[in-house]
């Protein structure tokens, strides 16, 4: 394909879009809708993943060391705990450190009052244990409890149900993406098909005077690609608006303010989102465009 043919193809492709303006509008709308549905799902999944990661970090098993053990014995327990499968780390925290940490979490105004009469002697040494696989944490906690001289406290902040829910959302969003991709593609294919129908006589002449198949194909592929690109770009900006609107809504909602720092900001993923939307739009368009004209290529 040389330069002057390229200009010709672009011109013809654009012509094809405007000849059936309404159909083109419909195709672009469908692409926009599909991209936004998929995009919204992905944004939800991304945010859920971030939240789960954060909660996972906080999800720890506490193993209190029995007061009957002296400090050396208490420190020695680490080898036994670390040997338990699925234990990622076991950090020893003395009773003094534990008290300090606890104090730090209390509101300043009430701290002294709440700590009155409490000394580190009231607390026990403990191990703070993190697991590799959170979904097996309960099992791991039970195994640690078997070790002599420790008492385990584990209250899971994330149940197995939450974790499997996360997987379900992820799988649903993949399936949805594939379905919507195919829907958009056929939408473009149909729009381009109308254009090929209008121009069947031209195509007939092109074939009989010896135009190559690729020459005949290009304007339609470009038509599809342009529709897809426009759809991708529009979807990006609409998605941006929707996302920020939804974030604001949630933050102003009583009880959800604490999500403030946790939500992914659109700005941080805008470039990636734009590239994906435009890339997907382009691919959908090219595939849709090529799909339609395949049958014209025989004879």
């Amino acid at each position: 394909m040389n330069g002057r043919n390229f200009i010709y193809f672009i011109k013809e492709g654009i012509k094809g879009i405007f000849v059936h303006g309404f159909m083109s509008f419909a195709a672009v709308s469908v692409i926009v809708a599909c991209l936004i549905i998929t995009g919204t799902f992905s944004l939800v999944v991304m945010n859920v993943n971030v939240l789960i990661d954060r909660v996972e970090d906080e999800n720890e098993i506490l193993a209190f060391v029995d007061d009957s053990l002296d400090d050396t014995e208490a420190l020695a327990l680490v080898t036994e705990i670390a040997a338990v499968p699925n234990v990622a780390s076991a950090t020893f925290v003395t009773r003094d450190e534990a008290l300090d940490e606890w104090a730090a979490t209390l509101p300043e105004d009430y701290r002294d009052m709440m700590l009155t009469g409490i000394t580190s002697a009231d607390l026990r040494h403990r191990y703070v244990i993190k697991t590799e696989d959170l979904s097996r944490a309960e099992e791991t906690a039970a195994e640690i409890a078997e070790i002599d001289g420790v008492e385990v406290q584990f209250d899971p902040r994330l149940s197995d149900a939450t974790l499997s829910m996360q997987n379900v959302i992820r799988i649903v969003s993949y399936i949805l993406a594939v379905i919507l991709f195919i829907v958009s593609m056929f939408m473009i294919a149909n729009t381009v098909k109308l254009a090929t129908f209008d121009r069947r006589e031209e195509i007939g002449i092109m074939k009989i005077v010896g135009a190559t198949n690729s020459f005949i194909r290009w304007p339609f592929v470009i038509q599809g690609a342009l529709l897809g690109l426009v759809g991708g770009a529009i979807a990006f900006f609409v998605q941006w608006g929707i996302y920020n609107y939804a974030c604001n809504l949630m933050l102003n909602y009583v009880g959800l303010e604490m999500l403030g720092d946790e939500l992914i900001s659109f700005g941080s993923i805008a470039i990636r989102m734009l590239l994906i939307f435009i890339g997907v739009g382009f691919t959908v368009g090219v595939l849709g465009g090529s799909l339609t004209i395949r049958k014209f290529m025989r004879v």
Binding site: Y8, E201, I208, V209, A211, N213, F215
Partner: protein, 226 residues
């Protein structure tokens, strides 16, 4: 040059359109194809342009061996052939000039070549003064001239006209055939399918007669038999 060696064509529905055709058309010849409706004339045309494949036999068209022709080579073959149809097949929303230029444009010719060559062709067919008209503003004879200009513009070795005068009155028909003869005199091979006895007889050119999918006569300075 067009060579058929024992060529048969049976369509998918079982119709035996051609049965063992042997034919040789030399470069520079003018040949009429005549014969009753359904005798296979248009099938020969479609075989030459590779719109249909032969069921049997060997074919050579302008140096292309059609039995070995790959799909991707078809455009190259077709650039050596100019086809003229009974119904003109002009594009309605293009001017006369654009219709002819279109044939060059779509095989990748540049605009400099196009603007040089299209006027020459329109002049040859006597339509230079109507280059900005649309097909609907022209008579049938004029539309057929445009389609002849389009067939010629890429400088083919052979022009094939399938009943080019089928939609025209006798006077226009004579003019179109005269134009084809002029083109032949300029060196292009011409194959014309026709039912016009008077014209065939007055031209004194080679006449190949078809009937029932066979060639029933091939007369060098022939006239319309049957």
């Amino acid at each position: 040059m067009v060579v058929f060696n024992n060529v048969s064509k049976t369509y998918a529905n079982g119709t035996k359109a051609l049965k063992g055709i042997d034919l040789r058309v030399e470069d520079g010849e003018f040949v009429f194809f005549v014969g009753p409706s359904g005798s296979g004339k248009s099938t020969v045309v479609k075989l030459i342009t590779a719109e249909v494949d032969p069921t049997e036999g060997e074919m050579l068209v302008n140096g292309f061996d059609l039995s070995k022709l790959r799909r991707r080579q078809i455009p190259a073959l077709r650039r050596t052939i100019g086809v003229v149809y009974q119904d003109f097949r002009l594009i309605e929303n293009m001017t006369v000039y654009e219709n002819v230029a279109f044939a060059m444009r779509v095989i990748g010719e540049g605009s400099r070549n196009i603007s040089k060559r299209v006027p020459i062709m329109l002049d040859l067919v006597g339509l230079a003064h109507k280059s900005r008209r649309y097909p609907r503003e022209l008579s049938g004879g004029e539309q057929q001239r445009v389609s002849i200009a389009r067939a010629l513009v890429n400088n083919p070795q052979v022009i094939i006209a399938d009943e080019p005068t089928g939609n025209l009155d006798p006077a226009r028909s004579g003019e179109i055939m005269d134009l084809l003869r002029k083109i032949n005199d300029l060196g292009t091979t011409v194959i014309a399918v026709t039912h016009e006895k008077d014209i065939v007889n007055s031209f004194g050119k080679r006449v190949v007669a078809f009937d029932g999918g066979r060639i029933v006569s091939d007369a060098r300075d022939g006239y319309y038999q049957v």
